[in-house]
């Protein structure tokens, strides 16, 4: 006898349906599992058997075949325990009329449904198909935030059997605001002085520009970077769910948050941790976890150059392709890059209060650790100076809220154009208005050697953002300011 239950697999930032099919027949006692399962999934057999016993239900000692379809999709993890158990019980006619529902959950040996990684995926699938889903009670309140989902919390296998047998008659879970909405982000007003860096950060936020901070240690490069998510627009529903799905896929929980993600991997992170991969089924890396948010790479020059070069394709395309023998896996990776680096090995080059001890050759070598094409990604590069005690002379800056208001206003024009300014190509830019004097200034800076042709494109992008703040077209002041936001080091 046959039954099937709908479950899900998390793939990158997306969810795919997985059908768990069970067939019960014959008289020999066997339990087979097919459909590209990983180790954790193969162990499901033992957990399911024990959980069914512990729930006081008799396990069918017959020939059991479980298949996870589609067979070419690699599945992993323990979240198929519950759908496997339910499909066995339905095939054995212990549940008579199985309602259509998406089911996920790991089973403990005593029959409890545990927190697993796919609850959010189940809720998304529930909304997409317009059918209910069953998830562990622990997650239910969070994932019920997915608009259009119908989430039923369950605590035990017996609970699930009862709920399905009575045709899901109970009231579904009411969504509860996620804890993330009350999350307190660090405020811009806490950054003393650094007027230049703060302005640069605001412009970067408005145009989505990648930004590089350079300067001596203790200058507050990290402090500034951490304040970027707060001055970025909140994610819309679809984007926050996408970001949450990626986190869930990486095993980082199910919390749906509208705050753009902020990821700050250490320079000792492996390449797989950074761009995704790992043994077996590829998992999303830091760049995908930063999707629709901020990727902060502190001590940029300390990252292995090969790791940095691996960022180039994602920076270009907003996604990363993990190639594997047989199949390759794509993860979304549209992030805003914030880089921070010391200007030289000792860190004090360009600092007026403390002399730099590095020979010029050492500084050059240090600089060259970051490849030219990588440096070219940064539309904005500013020096962040060391903050001393005497910074109190400077007035306290504006709050995150005030800055965000301007950023949102500058984003309006970009939304109308359909692209962030950082994504404007040379060709896009040709179509955008720019005053004659601005053009002259641009030509002039090219001819004077102040910028390169590639630099000119970046300056035009930043100038466009400056114009967007004022809801005007690009003029010479915008070009001049954009140029000054590329401090050399």
């Amino acid at each position: 006898m046959y039954a099937s239950v709908l479950s899900v697999a998390l793939i990158g930032g997306d969810v795919r349906p997985v059908r768990v099919e069970a067939h019960v027949g014959g008289t020999t006692n066997s339990f087979k599992l097919s459909g590209l399962p990983d180790t954790a999934l193969r162990e499901a057999k033992d957990r399911v058997r024990a959980a069914i016993h512990s729930s006081g239900i008799e396990f069918p000692h017959r020939e059991l075949t479980i298949n996870l379809a589609p067979a070419d999709l690699k599945k992993r993890g323990s979240d198929y325990d519950l759908p496997i158990a339910i499909s066995i019980l339905a095939a054995d006619r212990l549940i008579r009329r199985l309602p259509r529902a998406v089911i996920v959950g790991e089973l403990s040996l005593d029959g409890k449904v545990r927190r697993g990684g796919s609850s959010l995926g189940a809720a998304v699938m529930s909304a997409r198909l317009g059918i209910p889903c069953l998830v562990s009670r622990e997650h239910a309140a969070e994932v019920a935030l997915v608009p259009g989902s119908e989430v039923h919390p369950i605590e035990t296998l017996a609970d699930a059997v009862a709920l399905l047998s009575e045709g899901l008659g109970r009231m579904p879970m009411q969504p509860e605001p996620a804890a993330a909405e009350n999350q307190v982000l660090p405020d811009m007003a806490e950054v003393r002085g650094q007027v230049l860096a703060k302005r640069a950060l605001e412009i970067a936020a408005a145009g989505g520009h990648h930004i590089l901070f350079h300067g001596p240690p203790g200058g507050g490069k990290t402090m500034l970077a951490r304040r970027l998510p707060g001055i970025l627009p909140l994610l819309d529903d679809a984007s926050s769910i996408e970001a949450a799905l990626i986190r869930a896929n990486a095993g980082l929980g199910d919390v749906i948050s509208p705050i753009p993600p902020f990821r700050a991997p250490h320079h000792t992170a492996t390449r797989a941790a950074l761009v995704g991969g790992g043994t077996g089924i590829p998992t999303p890396g830091e760049i995908s976890l930063a999707h629709r948010g901020v990727l902060f790479l502190d001590e940029l020059a300390e990252f292995p150059r090969s790791h940095l070069d691996a960022l180039r394709q994602p920076l270009e395309e907003g996604r990363v392709l993990i190639s594997r023998q047989g199949a390759s896996q794509e993860f979304p990776a549209r992030f805003q890059l914030v880089g921070a680096t010391n200007p030289c090995p000792c860190g004090y080059w360009g600092d007026r209060r403390k002399p730099c001890r590095c020979p010029e050759s050492a500084r050059q070598r240090y600089r060259q650790r970051i490849s030219g094409p990588m440096l070219d990604r940064f539309d904005i590069a500013v020096h962040v100076k060391r903050v001393d005690g005497d910074e109190y002379r400077s007035v306290d800056g504006e709050s995150t809220e005030a800055v965000l208001r301007r950023v949102l206003s500058a984003r309006e024009a970009q939304m109308a154009r359909g692209a962030l300014n950082r994504d404007l190509s040379d060709r896009d830019l040709t179509g955008l208005p720019i005053s004659n004097i601005a053009r002259v200034l641009l030509v002039q800076s090219l001819e004077s050697g102040a910028i390169t042709a590639r630099g000119a494109v970046r300056i035009r992008r930043v100038a466009q953002t400056l114009a967007d703040f004022e809801h005007s077209s690009v003029d010479d002041d915008h070009i001049a300011e954009a140029l000054s936001l590329r401090g050399s080091w």
């Binding site: 200034l441 002039q444 004077s448 001049a480 080091w489």
Partner: protein
Amino acid sequence: MSSEPTLLSPGRGGYPPGLMDLEKPPPIYVRGAVPSGVCVAVVGTRRCTRYGLEIAGAIGRRIATAGWVTVSGLARGIDAAAHRGTVEAGGRGVAILGSGLDHLYPRENAPLAGQLVGLGGAVVSEYPAATPPDRWRFPARNRLIAAMSLAVVVVESKLAGGAQITAVLAAEMGRPVFAVPGDVGREASEGTNQLIRDGAIPIFGAEDLIAELSLLTGTAAASSPSADGDIPESGVDIEDLPTLWDCSVKEALARLGRLEIAGKVARSGDLVRPVTRYSA
């Protein structure tokens, strides 16, 4: 032309600094006031074509909108067209005469001279007010036109015209010479085409000229030409620029950008330093 002309001796306040480059800077009679700022001479033949008139007018207008000063000789044809363009754009211009200030020549351009003075420009001569126009004095005033200007633009000129003389004098004084190319074989373009062959920079329109001049002056066309930043030799902290210039961060950054383009300042870390370089 009601106001009395003033006599300015070399080195006195208001005396055009460019004239100090002459071997013997003459005292000059001025009606109105010679504007400070970047002066650009626009000169050419009296017997010009419609093409020449149009371009001279456009250049005069564009120099005005760039905030610079047009210098010419008030003659018929190209000179008058350039002055007229400047006046149309509400800009400042200087007319340098070969006669005394009481003898505006040609008479038909007298109103134009009045407009120049009215808009903050000046009419200048090195001769006493009553000096009548004499053909032999005109080449002499050309050296004043060349000296006063940062650069000379010749729009249309015959092979042996006064504009050619101005161009040669300018080149001898190290002023860059620009020329508008014209038809081969046309008299009014023979001079300019020859200048191009001799090394003058060909320009293809007003905008082109502005772009070239911006390179020379090191300022954007719209910015005030005197903006050298007042940055002390010892350098200044980039964070202190808004205080130094008494402006917003945004304005300070834009101004810094211009100075960088002009190669007037260099940055290392948080320090902005002036770049001292040889200037002609």
